[in-house]
């Protein structure tokens, strides 16, 4: 079957699903949207903005002013347009994934492209937040677009998408270095052949300056739209200071509900630095395959981000489809998938028990987020192992691979 036809069919199926009479509860679900990505808060912010009230003066709206400007003018949000917009966003993301695969493998159209598109469009971790119209789907789109453009060598679009992504979701700053390395390098698989690479620092500096240029233009636009600088405190600073402690499938919120004020700044710094410390080692180790470095850092983001939704680890799991070469070398894929299955059943169950039925408490939900975190962490570690293991080749008879 022609790939384009298959792609169109998948997108149409998603559109039908988006228009299906599903329960309204998705928008309220804590797993599918966080305070930084919730569709309800987006509506609230746009409404306040249209009526002349600064949405950043209260504690409700934590999203970028660019969303305010786009959703109050070009793309109105209502019952008909929201499913269409979010399905289009997912379609673009799936397209970007397919294009990245084509750039990496060097193959043109193949049957695998339809599989990749299905893997993105029908991954429950990804399409459920999209049904909840969470803006994490838009972040995923920008994420995949920047990687696609970088893999294809198109500098400016890649940097623009990256700047928009960092602007919208500050923790994605982890991706800046691997994407720049990807622009400077090549997307083809270099896992089997690790070697130190030579970096063109002049070009790298120029790329970095262009990224900063894009970022500052977006920041100035946001300041203009918002009419002040208050928005910086209410968007970027919220992720750093965890102003909102709404439950989410991440690991930060429970820890900080019971944190004494005295220790709060220290632990906030520790958690933020925990995200940043992965950049240098991963990029140095996987310098010969920057796309893999970007993949690993996506996994780090999915596990330890401040306000994750299911989309973030979902993106990591879907991106494993870009690297079929590591699949034989994964040590415990069954364990990982079972932990994920376990967590994905427990998370909504305990959330319901705690908040709707009232027979459970926050510890139940926190335990399920811990299991989810273990699942993500185990998947990440296994992928790192497999990426490194490929370089050693197949095991010979009588020999075993050990780690000293």
């Amino acid at each position: 079957m022609d790939v384009d036809l298959a792609f169109g069919g998948l997108v149409a199926a998603r559109l039908l699903l988006a228009f299906a009479p599903l329960p309204e509860q998705f928008k309220f679900d804590h797993l599918l949207s966080s305070p930084l990505t919730s569709n309800l808060r987006l509506h609230e912010g746009v409404y306040l903005f249209k009526n002349g009230v600064d949405p950043y003066s209260g504690g409700i709206f934590y999203q970028s002013p660019l969303y305010l400007s786009v959703f109050s003018t070009l793309l109105p949000l209502n019952r008909v347009s929201s499913p269409v917009i979010w399905t289009l966003v997912d379609a673009v993301s799936a397209y970007a994934l397919v294009q990245t695969w084509r750039a990496r493998s060097g193959v043109g159209k193949s049957k695998r492209d339809a599989l990749l598109a299905a893997f993105y469009l029908f991954n429950p971790y990804l399409f459920l937040p999209s049904l909840a119209f969470s803006t994490s789907s838009i972040s995923n789109m920008l994420h995949l677009l920047s990687i696609m453009f970088a893999a294809r060598g198109e500098t400016s679009p890649a940097l623009f998408c990256l700047a928009a992504l960092v602007h919208v979701s500050l923790s994605s700053i982890l991706l800046v270095l691997p994407v720049i390395m990807l622009i400077l390098g090549q997307p083809k698989s270099g896992l089997a052949d690790p070697k130190p690479i030579s970096i063109n620092f002049k070009k790298g500096r120029a790329i970095g300056l262009e990224f900063l240029g894009h970022f500052s233009v977006l920041t100035l636009t946001s300041t203009l739209v918002s009419g002040g600088f208050q928005w910086m405190r209410q968007t970027w600073f919220v992720e750093l200071s965890l102003l909102d402690l709404t439950p989410n499938p991440g690991l930060w919120w429970y820890f900080f509900t019971e944190m004494f004020d005295h220790f709060r700044p220290f632990f906030l710094m520790a958690f933020s630095v925990h995200l940043l410390i992965y950049i240098a080692p991963v990029c140095i180790k996987f310098q010969y395959d920057p796309l893999y470095a970007a993949f690993i850092l996506t996994g780090v983001l999915g596990t330890v981000k401040a306000y994750p939704t299911l989309s973030d680890p979902g993106l990591f799991l879907t991106m494993t489809s870009l690297f079929p070469e590591i699949l034989p070398y994964l040590r415990y894929p069954v364990v990982t998938s079972l932990i994920h299955l376990h967590a994905s059943l427990l998370l909504p169950l305990f959330n319901h028990l705690w908040l709707s039925q009232g027979t459970g408490n926050a510890n139940f939900f926190y335990a399920s987020t811990l299991v989810f975190g273990i699942g993500n962490g185990v998947a990440l570690m296994d992928c790192v192992w497999a990426g490194l293991r490929i370089a050693l080749g197949e095991t010979k008879e009588g020999y075993d691979v050990i780690q000293q």
Partner: protein, 394 residues
């Protein structure tokens, strides 16, 4: 140089004096208007009512003291004081006592007619929280920061407070919880602190214990009206027993007061003098007393609802009166000397707009409106996308 400055100073003096003149010439200020409104019926200047009802004794056999306090609670609540303005202190739980044959219910008359406890009750201080220290802290407002709002006496200088105390008492003391006592001096000093801190407008103090009138003999702060159930050397007696419960259910003095208050409602014009007229030493088996020397108003002008009820003053104005009222108040607030006619004409449309109050929030006051900014922002992002696309295809 000096001539120029002199010119400016004299202009300033002229403006200021013109403004002062017109302010004085306008007659009443807003404060005076408000005060006249609240003084209209000579009701002593209060704007809100509070009640502090204390039952200071515990144990099952003091059921009647709890019934006293609960009876007062139901009365003031019926007459309009909300739970947020009532501090109910019960030293023991008669309703849920093991010896209560009718669990969850407290009756003030034999025969289980009217339940005082059951539905819709808010006890603020219960059990061991009813102590002398808590009571005085409550009155003076010197509470720990952790004390919740419902346990604070949040009165101001326009509050009328009804303080009712019942329990076992003696010569200038009242027994709390069987292990401590509060003296008349303590309460007097607490009231004086309240006066100094402007925490009350008028206090009505009622006490039903043995030798009750000694408890208010030491007050020295203004605007306090006090009444007690018995004189020095006399006991106050309980009224009647309930055969099923096995104890006395109400005290005599409180019984007659409650019986009298049952007949009034929020619109009642009966006065405190009428209440004190029911004092009958023969019926009540003790001699009640009244102390009114600290009270500034005559007793036949002080309404019962000034203390027992939560009645507020309201005046209904016609719509034309509102508009003219608002416009005249705006004219007062913007005292600009100069061409008077032009100014009032310019003021009128904005005054009418103020009354309408249905327009969306003001736009276009110098800062570009939100939609303009949004379009500009979207346009800028679009330009950037276009530039990026063009430079990529080049």
């Amino acid at each position: 140089m000096s001539a120029r400055w002199g010119w400016q100073v004299s202009t300033l003096v002229l403006f200021v004096s013109l403004w002062l003149l017109q302010a004085l010439a306008n007659g009443q200020t807003h404060h005076e208007q408000a005060r006249d409104f609240f003084n209209k019926q000579g009701n002593g200047n209060h704007t809100n009512n509070w009640a502090v009802l204390v039952c200071a004794s515990r144990y099952w056999f003091n059921y009647r003291h709890m019934a006293n306090a609960l009876g007062m609670y139901r009365t003031v609540k019926r007459l309009g004081i909300p739970d947020s303005n009532i501090i109910l202190m019960l030293a023991d739980d008669a309703a849920c006592n093991n010896r209560n044959k009718f669990p969850g219910n407290v009756y003030a008359n034999p025969g289980q007619g009217l339940d005082l406890y059951g539905d819709n009750i808010e006890v603020d201080y219960r059990g061991y929280e009813v102590t002398v220290e808590n009571f005085i802290r409550l009155l003076t407002g010197r509470v720990d920061p952790s004390v919740p709002r419902t346990k604070r006496l949040l009165t101001d200088d326009r509050s009328n407070i009804f303080v009712y105390m019942t329990g076992h008492g003696g010569n200038e003391f009242l027994k709390f919880q069987d292990n401590e006592e509060i003296s008349a001096f303590d309460i007097a000093d607490a009231f004086e602190q309240m006066w100094q801190k402007k925490r009350y407008n008028e206090i009505f103090f009622m006490i039903d214990t043995c030798q009750a009138t000694t408890m208010y003999s030491k007050f020295y702060s203004p605007n306090i009206l006090a009444t007690g159930s018995s004189q020095l050397g006399e006991n106050s007696y309980s009224y009647e027993n309930d055969r099923d419960l096995g104890i006395s259910v109400i005290d005599t003095y409180t019984h007659y007061v409650l019986e009298y208050l049952e007949q009034i409602n929020k619109t009642s014009q009966l006065t405190m003098q009428d209440l004190f007229d029911i004092h009958d030493p023969g019926k009540m088996r003790s001699t009640p007393g009244v102390r009114s020397n600290l009270f500034s108003r005559p007793l036949n002008k002080a309404l019962l609802t000034d203390f027992f009820g939560g009645v507020s003053q309201a005046e209904v104005m016609a719509e034309e009166d509102i508009k003219s009222h608002v416009m005249s108040s705006i004219a007062e607030k913007v005292p600009r000397p100069g061409a008077g006619e032009k100014k009032t004409k310019a003021l009128t449309p904005s005054a009418v707009k103020m009354v309408a109050l249905q327009e969306p929030l003001s736009k276009g006051d110098g800062i570009p409106s939100a939609t303009a900014r949004a379009w500009t922002g979207a346009g800028l992002v679009g330009l950037l996308v276009a530039w990026v696309t063009i430079s990529a295809t080049r």
